[in-house]
Amino acid sequence: MSLLELHNVEARYGPVKALHGVSLEVGDGELVAVLGANGAGKTTTLRAISGTVRSSGDVVFAGKKLSRRPETTARGGIAHVPEGRGTFSELSVWENLRLGAYARRANVKEEARRVYKFFPRLEGRHDQQAGTLSGGEQQMLALGRAMMARPKLLLLDEPSLGLAPIVVIQIFEALARMKRDDGMSVLVVEQNANLALEYAARAYLLEVGNVVVEGTSDELRANESVRKSYLGY
């Protein structure tokens, strides 16, 4: 049985329908990518899972239907790093990390040390306001904050957005290690299809709110239309 299952999920913003019945699943410890162009519904898919947008259809997590209120999903073991990273720019790096562990009892200092081991650059910025960090550091902080929650599932929205290629590689390498160390599952939304397929075991391709292609990363790479439209060769 999969850790996360979406059955026929629909979502709308006012009169505009963003998801027309999306079904997907993420297995235990699996890294799954959601690909697609701008406006295909990638972000909305994540938001439907965490409950930051209202949706219909079933979202089943660890065998239970999700209530789909963001604070409840967060408490249930799903960490969502949203578009724009969702760090608290007015608060310090340390306070951001503390908030990451808000929903559980934990030795916060111990957990923060673990995060600093993954992202040594953050340690020197312990007391700095998050808003003053560079884009790459903010993405590291967003991931670190998610790590503090020790989630079973991480929802990650466009981690590469606006970052230099070398930083993007660092982020994805850290992600792969986090997944391995913690055994968590990851559902990552990414416009950079080449990059995402390199790290993901499986992927879904969204077009205007529908899943049009799904399969292992190799299968997607071999797919003619995926290659032409999204991989560029």
Binding site: A74, P82, G86, S89, L91, L99, Y102
Partner: protein, 300 residues
């Protein structure tokens, strides 16, 4: 033009009186800022909430309780009342335009004011404070014990709150919910309850301000109305977004208007409020965000 001869002793006494006034404004201004930060709403009922809880203290003391026994009971009632008001009155209109909520707080002020008249009558009442009005010498300046007590309690509460916001998990969650509710939900903070908690804390601040000032003025349903105006002014002066600004703004305003009223002849006690507002107007022309506030830059 000075009224009477200038002496340093009197100046020091005026300064002390100004700080005492300012401490009251600071407490109330802080209450306004706490609610404003989390909801972008100015709570016009803040003064009436404070007076209402002060009346409860008065009733308890009339039934034979000492001030310091009544004090924690009133704070608990104020906290519960603040939380209840948010849950019952504000929550249902959470997503309404800010103006709607502001009008609701105005209505709440009127309602509480009327309730107080019905329950306790409109007459002035003597409120016996915990501090004596005799003076002690600080340096060589005689200052009333009451003034010192009021400042100590008000500032003590502000410091305690500061520590709470800075160092506790709940305090951090309250700050997070105020600056970024969306992300707060994503880490599992129950933002709705944080707003209610903010109202509870604001009500406690108001209750303390009320119980401190009531022995100096008289207790009646309109006791806080002028004081609330000064507190608004103090909050704007410090920057509506800044808790520290509210406290500094309150003290600064208290001292300024007390000294102006005493030493600038034509202002006296009648023109204190306009003079204070004029000062703030000038300051806001130079620093639109207040002393400590930040101006939101909007790109168009």
């Amino acid at each position: 033009m000075f009224l009477g001869a200038f002496t340093w002793t009197e100046f020091a006494q005026q300064l002390a009186a100004g700080i005492r006034e300012g401490a009251i404004y600071a407490g109330l201004a802080l209450a306004i800022v706490i609610i404003y930060r989390s909801t972008r709403v100015i709570n016009f009922a803040q003064g009436e909430m404070a007076t209402f809880t002060t009346f409860i203290a008065w009733s308890l003391m009339n039934h034979g309780l000492s001030f310091w026994t009544a004090f924690p009971i009133v704070l608990a009632i104020a906290f519960a009342g603040g939380v209840a008001i948010e849950r019952v009155v504000i929550r249902p209109v959470e997503n309404a335009p800010v103006l709607t909520i502001v009008i609701i707080t105005l209505g709440l002020a009127l309602l509480l004011n009327g309730l107080m008249s019905v329950i306790w009558g409109g007459a002035n009442r003597q409120f016996n404070g915990p501090f004596s009005t005799r003076t002690i010498d600080v340096g060589s300046v005689p200052i009333s014990v009451q003034d010192i007590g009021i400042v100590a309690v008000s500032v003590g509460l502000v410091v305690l709150l500061g520590l709470f916001f800075r160092f506790t998990k709940l305090g951090l969650a309250l700050r997070a919910a105020a600056v970024n509710p969306e992300s707060s939900r994503l880490v599992g903070i129950r933002v709705g309850w944080m707003l209610a908690l903010g109202w509870g804390i604001a009500a406690v601040l108001g209750a303390v301000a009320g119980m401190m000032i009531a022995p100096v003025v008289f207790l009646d349903p309109n006791m806080m109305q002028t004081i609330l105006l000064y507190a608004f002014a103090a909050a704007v002066l410090g920057g509506l977004d800044s808790p520290i600004g509210a406290v500094v703004g309150g003290i600064l305003l208290g001292v300024t208007i007390t000294l102006l009223g005493r030493y600038v002849g034509f202002i006296g006690s009648t023109l204190k409020l306009p003079a204070a507002l004029l000062l703030i107007l000038v300051l806001l022309l130079v620093r639109p965000g207040g002393l400590f506030g930040r101006v939101a830059v909007r790109r168009v």
